[in-house]
């Protein structure tokens, strides 16, 4: 064998070994998640802190809840994030048992861009009709009637919704289906909807917030934190009890004061609570119950279980500073129970 060829082969081998070894040792040190953008600010903070503590990289990409569910089903990610509990059909498509754990509570707020950033009171009908395209000017008498003190410009309303399959859309449309018959019949509930024509679509919570922030007269719906971080105006929504409720941590927690079932599948929209914000929701992480699929190492499965455990316990302290409501004691207990049911080759991962 000629010298050069041998040298070349050595190089190739060395490179191969280098990459091979990094991949061998790096596997347990890196987890990949994707999905909902609703809790993404919290997750990015949590995972940053988790990396500082444990040197484990958790790469989370906000591609929308629909994307999270799909990529988990295709097994390209270790866990998914979604604000909508997986449907029976999606669970079936997943092929094996998928578990949900809630990580925090948030509120979907109606944001708008109007001169002077007035705080508007919005009734259920006004919200539904704006997004149905039936109210198309800010100076509409019905908005004016609910807000006698506000100065409303004659701007046309530019409605923006999510272009990607979104859990935020699911929460919002589930709420509207509960309060408006017309919405229920025409549009319905889902992660991707057949929206009325002539509306703008944007990707992710950041996309919607970014567009509304830039466009006078625009209206959209995002998680509370996106509105707060960008100092954008958002409305008080009238709840079932007839009170206009400001979305805050407290009003979200008030709405969440319900019994949580074992699989944690619970809807909080249109709450009965008198001081509860009507468009509140849990957001979930999803993952396979049996972790030994597709040649995954046990170390990886363990590091996932540990991460999930941390997120519903120690990690909860990051929720409040970002205006998400932490899980209730009851929700934490149920989540821990779910995490403990994770197995690797039939053996529980955590005790």
């Amino acid at each position: 064998m000629s010298v050069r060829l041998r040298r070349f082969c050595t190089w190739v081998l060395a490179l191969g070994l280098l990459f091979g070894s990094t991949s061998l040792f790096a596997v347990e040190r890196e987890l990949i998640g994707a999905g909902a953008t609703f809790p993404q600010p919290l997750y990015s903070k949590m995972f940053d802190a988790y990396f500082q503590q444990n040197k484990i990289k958790v790469n989370y990409q906000g591609i929308g809840s629909g994307g999270g569910i799909n990529q988990l089903t295709k097994k390209t990610v270790d866990f998914g994030g979604t604000d909508a509990f997986m449907t029976a059909k999606e669970l079936q498509a997943a092929g094996a048992a998928v578990l949900h754990i809630p990580t925090c509570l948030g509120a979907v707020v109606v944001i708008y861009n109007l001169p002077g950033n007035p705080k508007l009171n919005l009734t259920q009908d006004i919200v539904a009709d704006i997004f149905l395209g039936k109210i198309n000017k800010w100076s509409d008498p019905r908005i004016a009637a609910a807000n006698p003190k506000a100065k409303l410009p004659g701007l046309p309303i530019s409605v923006v919704h999510r272009a990607d399959g979104s859990g935020t859309t699911y929460i919002f449309s589930e709420y509207l289906s509960k309060v408006s018959n017309e919405w229920k019949e025409k549009i319905g509930t889902g992660k991707s909807l057949n929206w009325p024509a002539g509306q703008i679509g944007q990707k992710g919570n950041p996309g919607v917030a970014g567009y509304v922030r830039q466009t006078p007269g625009a209206v959209g719906y995002v998680e509370l934190l996106y509105a707060l971080q960008n100092k954008m105006a958002f409305g008080k929504i009238r709840n079932k009890a007839g009170v206009f409720i400001e979305p805050t941590r407290t009003s979200v927690s008030a709405a969440a004061d319900v019994k949580i079932p074992d699989d944690t599948n619970v809807s909080l929209t249109d709450t009965d609570a008198k001081d509860g914000y009507p468009i509140s929701s849990l957001t979930w992480l999803i993952f396979y119950k049996e972790q030994s699929y597709g040649g995954r190492s046990k170390a990886k499965a363990e590091s996932l279980a540990k991460l999930l455990h941390w997120m519903v316990t120690d990690g909860q302290k990051f929720a409040e500073p970002l205006q998400y409501s932490p899980l209730s004691k009851q929700a934490v207990l149920k989540s821990l129970k779910v995490i403990k049911s994770m197995t690797y080759g039939g053996v529980p991962l955590l005790k």
């Binding site: 000629s2 070349f8 799909n70 089903t73 046309p156 002539g198 679509g201 466009t215 007269g217």
Partner: protein, 323 residues
């Protein structure tokens, strides 16, 4: 052994040593390595063909569920509803056609002006060098940066125009996307146009000038008729680019899955709907999006083959006339 060495481009001396010791086998090995060399070349070339066929086959195979479910009705179905699993691609076909044709229309006067400017008026000099390198720079800026720029400069301008006209001031939509597309394809079609115009034989122009024609008349009656098919091919190739352009359009089109009713309406192109929805698409939705990708691939392929063929023909004719 020797064959491997030569294929890997290893020095002459290795071979020379061998030929001295094994003079008889040398010729044999040489022939063999010759054959190997030819085979490697052929293999690489065939690989390109296989690659393209594999792309086509992958797209077809992955879109079969959608082709079976919707067949040709896909092309005139107007509903794109993932929840009801009803898919028709007409809104995206319309969005793609409107944005790319509009962009091409806007692009034509500018690109022809640049081609004439560089190909006829100022063939050399500082000014022409500046314009030419500017065109090159413009061609090199990535699509996503055009999108970014469009979001922060074009969008407010468009919104102001829409406010003035009294339409809903989305800021994004068909016209905004068409404008950014036009800016993106001008350099491309201009550089093809310039090349075609410089191909016009000098003696033809000289003859016209010597008859007393003004430069405008020479351009109108000699250059343009002569270069017409080349210019059209350049425009066709630019159209092909506009059809497949993704990022800038995704950022500026407004992502609405309906057939647009006005020039300011939000819409979606074939490329932008894929960029928006492919990550979360499952089952029949994914197959439908890949069906869209297949159509996009076929359309751009046809446009490109026709454009390239015409340009080659023009160049060939020019070279014939010179000789």
């Amino acid at each position: 052994m020797t064959e491997m060495c030569s294929v890997n481009g290893i020095g002459m001396q290795d071979i020379n040593e061998k030929t001295e010791t094994a003079d008889m086998t040398a010729k044999n090995t040489m022939d063999k390595s010759e054959q190997r060399f030819g085979k490697v070349l052929l293999l690489a070339a065939v690989f390109v063909v296989v690659l393209l066929l594999a792309i086509l086959a992958t797209l077809v195979a992955a879109s079969i569920p959608a082709i079976k479910a919707f067949g040709l009705t896909f092309f005139w179905g107007t509903t794109w509803d993932a929840a009801a699993e009803k898919f028709g691609a007409l809104p995206f076909l319309a969005g793609t056609l409107i944005t790319s044709f509009l962009a091409t229309l806007i692009c034509i006067p500018f690109s022809i002006a640049i081609s004439i400017f560089l190909g006829e008026y100022f063939k050399e000099g500082v000014f022409s060098a500046f314009l030419r390198s500017s065109v090159e720079v413009l061609a090199g800026i990535p699509s996503v940066i055009y999108g970014l720029w469009g979001l922060f400069l074009l969008m407010p301008i468009m919104r102001a125009i829409e406010m003035y006209l009294g339409v809903t001031p989305h800021g994004v939509g068909l016209l905004t996307s068409a404008l950014i597309l036009a800016i993106m394809i001008i350099p491309f079609s201009a550089s093809i146009g310039r090349e075609v115009i410089t191909l016009v034989p000098g003696d033809l122009k000289e003859a016209a000038f010597s008859l007393g024609a003004t430069r405008f008349e020479v351009i109108r009656n000699v250059i343009i008729p002569y270069a017409r098919s080349g210019i059209i091919a350049g425009i066709l190739l630019s159209l092909g680019r506009a059809i497949g352009e993704t990022m800038a359009v995704t950022m500026l089109i407004g992502n609405s899955n309906f057939i647009p009713t006005g020039i300011f309406d939000p819409s979606n192109t074939m490329a932008s709907v894929i960029a928006n929805e492919f990550a979360e698409a499952t089952g029949i939705t994914a197959a439908s999006l890949i069906y869209v990708a297949l159509v996009l691939f076929l359309v751009t392929t046809v446009v490109n083959i026709v454009g390239t063929y015409v340009i080659k023909k023009v160049a060939l004719e020019a070279s014939k006339e010179v000789t």
